[in-house]
Amino acid sequence: MAHFRLQGSKVLAVDLAGEAVKAKKGSMVAYDGEMTFKKKTGGGEGLRGLVTRRITGEHMAVMEVRGQGTCYFADRAREVNLVALDGEKLFVEASNLLCADEALRTGTTFTGLRGSAQGNGLFTTTVEGTGQAAILSEGTAVVLRVGPQTPLQVDPGAYVAHSGNLTQHFQSGVNFRSFIGEGSGEAFQIRFEGEGLVYVQPYERDTIGGEL
């Protein structure tokens, strides 16, 4: 199986011995050995997936990298976070997924209001199976565990990814004061309940509601 490791915090090194990985198109920065790069139509699920992604806007510009040696990936000096999946499902935006083992299945799923609050649309990408993946964040991501007694609230702009068995609600503290300008500026949060992990970045993206 392909071996993922970090070379510094912003470069992903993948050791390959004949296997393949799926990587964000154009993210290869260097390689050592023999590699072939093949354009893929997208993020899996065959023709149905292709159509789904076209409709949902969850495009994945993916390439398949196969070979012997070490391949290095990076994207706009963003931080790389390794995720080891053991049968769970990882939810991540297509633009934040840097690389995934070929054994992992990727697909598209509906996220509802949470996605639209992030300004990322209503759909997100899922990665499922057993193997390693690498996700991108602005600044080192913090991994937070959610348990039955400890639900977690996350600012939509700082959310990166989550895995495990989590339900999410869109939580709003909007009241009439928000409309007369005395809002709290933290009026919207995503509340995660259940059991799983949430990846949060120390940076707030612009969201559809402005700086939430």
């Binding site: 390794l82 390693q132 602005e138 996350v154 005395e182």
Partner: protein, 226 residues
């Protein structure tokens, strides 16, 4: 493979950094917070705009910056709260019956035992009292002692220093050409003609970059979304 450190509601640091960019506050009571700097929290925490009914006594005690009131909220409750700002370095500082002046955009949060006032230097805020505050800087903060002249963009703040003032190069000041250059930039400028000068005893805080946190207009209601 050694994976990332996984934190939960109990293992998060108590009033300390999680990593250079994220600070964890163990909240039990109230903290002042600049809008939009909270990235996640565990527990029961409510966020209220400054100037709401039941917070009046708190605001009367520790918030004296009407120009910035629209940018601040009070976090109230119990839990662990994570603060971060655009992946800049964040650090906490303790004041012990002291005073510290800081660029308004760099201040993330402070304990209500401190009192926040507007500095007479535009764009800066002064904290007076005893307590903890959290501030961001682009790159680690460097502590310097006066006498020192610093680049205006690299200045984060200063503590206990009397009389910060402007300093202009002599060449820049002199003659007609200098005046033209000053107003038009024609004839070339080095970009380093103007500094802030500190004298006396105290500490000056610098960041290792001249990129500032984005300046926002202060005192404008409703410009930050909700």
């Amino acid at each position: 493979m050694n994976g990332p450190v996984i934190h939960d509601a109990y293992s998060l640091p108590v009033n300390d950094n999680v990593n250079p960019y994220v600070f964890s506050v163990d909240l039990d009571g109230q903290w002042f917070l600049q809008k939009g700097k909270m990235i996640a929290y565990y527990g029961q925490i409510a966020f209220q705009g400054v100037g709401l009914g039941h917070l009046e006594r708190l605001v009367a005690r520790s918030f004296h910056s009407p120009l910035h009131a629209a940018d601040w909220v009070v976090a109230e409750g119990r839990g662990r709260m994570l603060l971060a700002d655009r992946a800049f370095d964040v650090n906490s500082y303790d004041l012990d019956d002291g005073n510290l002046t800081i660029r308004s955009g760099n201040l993330l949060a402070f304990q209500p035992s401190l009192s926040l006032k507007q500095s007479i230097v535009p764009g800066f805020l002064t904290l007076i009292g005893t307590g903890t505050f959290v501030a961001a800087s682009n790159g680690p903060v460097v502590f310097m002692e006066p006498p020192i002249r610093v680049d205006p963009q690299a200045l984060v703040g200063w503590a206990d220093c009397p009389s910060p003032c402007h300093h202009y190069d002599h060449h820049y000041m002199r003659g007609f050409l200098g005046g033209v250059r000053a107003h038009t930039g024609f004839g070339g400028t080095s970009g380093e003609e103007h500094q802030f000068e500190f004298t006396g005893a105290g500490t000056v805080l610098l960041q290792s970059s001249e990129m500032l946190l984005e300046e926002r207009p202060v005192g404008v209601k409703g410009d930050t979304g909700s």
